[in-house]
């Protein structure tokens, strides 16, 4: 690669879906500017540098590394260690690296249950010898190895220090471009970077700030599944009993899902000042559950509230849809969450 003064950019995926890369490509023609400003130092999806090459770099050789994907196996963790060592600025890019995202729903179940489901118990499996993938296998010609599959999916900052976090599944292209412009400004014109550890490429407050639906006082008698009612197109979905994570989710996407009549699922993670997105969502909607009164008999009261609460299907999987790895407890004690 060319040894000129251009800053070095790396983008790597661990346990991810590639959506982050697609979202980067969705800055469209601006990708050409990125190509002008940076030298690619490592970017499996677009260039041919190998792990060996990265290992050969001096520490801090890479100016900025966009790391997406969760830490699902030992290979992911080793790559995270390596890239932390070689990068000046390491960015947890996208929900997976930031807080675990959908892959971390796996923390609602166990490794054992996962292997059994995938390799033993499903309608199309043909595995008479009950074979499971192994870390090391002796085949006729020699040894084959696979990475260790972790019990718990972790976010990037749970295995290495992270300088910045860009939330979103995936981060929205305008936000990505805005961040890249800041970085370019800092690297080329010496403009200041945001304080280390900050969450960038997103707002600070809850999504409701961006949502155009009309909001009233919230008194909810029960909740509905999205197919059970036809929501009023202009009114706050939560008020209509459709679970919308917007109240406990960081702004930045522009409230896309509510704008097409689907409740926010929380992919931008919690807003500033909230540690555990799920717990806060839980607390908020339980508080406005408009059933039961202090003058009631205690048993009646508890029964009424239980009924209303039971209209919420799968609280854990809903409130922690994206933030499981970053939640206070991080995983379930056993597989109950998923089975």
């Amino acid at each position: 690669m060319t040894e000129n003064g251009k800053p070095k950019l790396a983008m790597y995926w661990a346990s991810s879906c590639g959506g982050c890369e697609i979202s980067v490509l969705n800055i469209h023609e601006n990708i050409l500017t990125v190509d002008e400003v940076f030298d690619i130092a490592f970017f499996p999806c677009i260039a041919d540098f190998k792990i060996k090459d990265v290992e050969a770099y001096p520490d801090g050789y890479i100016d900025i590394c966009l790391f997406n994907g969760a830490i699902r196996n030992s290979e992911n963790e080793e790559m995270a260690q390596l890239l932390r060592q070689k990068s000046k600025v390491l960015v947890a890019f996208g929900s997976c690296a930031y807080e675990g995202c959908i892959p971390a729903l796996s923390n609602l179940t166990t490794k054992k249950a996962t292997f059994e489901k995938v390799y033993f118990n499903n309608p199309t499996i043909d595995n008479p010898d009950r074979i499971l993938p192994q870390h090391s296998t002796e085949v006729a010609e020699g040894e084959l190895t696979l990475p260790h599959f972790y019990h718990t999916v972790k976010s990037l900052d749970q295995v290495v220090e992270v300088d910045y976090f860009i939330p979103g599944c995936p981060p929205e292209p305008p936000q990505i471009w805005a961040v890249l412009q800041v970085v370019i400004g800092a690297l080329t014109a010496g403009q200041p970077l945001p304080p280390a550890g900050s969450i960038i490429g997103a707002g600070t407050m809850a999504l409701c700030d961006e949502c155009t639906r009309e909001k009233k006082e919230k008194t909810i008698k029960r909740f509905f599944r999205p197919y059970e009612i036809q929501p009023n197109p202009d009114q706050c979905l939560l008020e209509q009993g459709i679970i919308c994570m917007g109240i406990a989710t960081r702004s930045g996407c522009g409230a896309l899902c509510p704008s097409v009549g689907i409740g926010c699922r929380g992919c931008y993670g919690p807003p500033d000042g909230v540690e555990d997105q799920g717990a806060k969502m839980l607390s908020a909607i339980a508080s406005v559950l408009d059933v039961g009164h202090e003058s009631m008999d205690e048993d009646v009261l508890e029964e009424l509230i239980q009924e209303a609460v039971d209209t919420i299907a799968d609280p854990a999987g809903t409130f922690y849809r994206f933030s499981m790895a970053h939640s206070i407890l991080k995983r379930v004690k056993n597989g109950k969450g998923a089975a």
């Binding site: 490794k111 607390s283 508080s287 039961g292 991080k330």
Partner: protein
């Protein structure tokens, strides 16, 4: 940890009823399990579910939320909100595989020192039977060990 297991219970006690109930239990020299570590909040309605989760994350074996009886809340109905949150939290914790006995809600008025003491004794026994939770080492800690070998299935 020694083989003898003493559960640790974090108690969130409301300033006006349950905290005073605990005061009264002491004043009346009622002896009860020393396993409760009380934290004073103004109202059971102040108990943020994050507190409960953090208590479990930080090593507690159980959490007791105690407030005034419905209708007797000094803030009219803060305890009703506590009950609503608790009910949803309990449903969620079940998905997390956390036994119901580990997180409990109790109504104890300022005059019910005996009720509070009895509840702490009962809960301590229940937790002894369940054994330690100790989240950090027993649940998260095993990531290190568990991923080294594919478990026997």
């Amino acid at each position: 940890m020694s083989d003898h297991f003493e559960p640790v219970i974090v108690g969130f006690l409301c300033n006006w009823c349950s905290y005073r109930a605990a005061d009264l239990a002491g004043t009346a020299r009622i002896k009860y399990a020393p396993n409760l570590r009380p934290i004073r909040v103004m109202c059971s309605g102040r108990v943020d579910p994050q507190f409960v989760l953090q208590a479990l994350r930080s090593g507690a074996d159980g959490v007791l939320i105690a407030g005034c009886h419905p209708g007797e809340c000094h803030y009219v109905n803060g305890n009703i909100k506590a009950l609503r949150r608790f009910t949803l939290l309990r449903k969620t914790l079940e998905q997390w595989g956390i036994e119901q006995e580990r997180v409990q809600l109790l109504w104890a008025s300022a005059s019910e020192g005996t009720v509070l003491a009895a509840a702490v004794n009962r809960m301590t026994e229940e937790l002894r039977a369940l054994g330690p939770l100790r989240w950090g080492e027993k649940v998260l800690g095993d990531n290190g060990a568990a991923h080294l070998v594919v478990e026997e299935v």
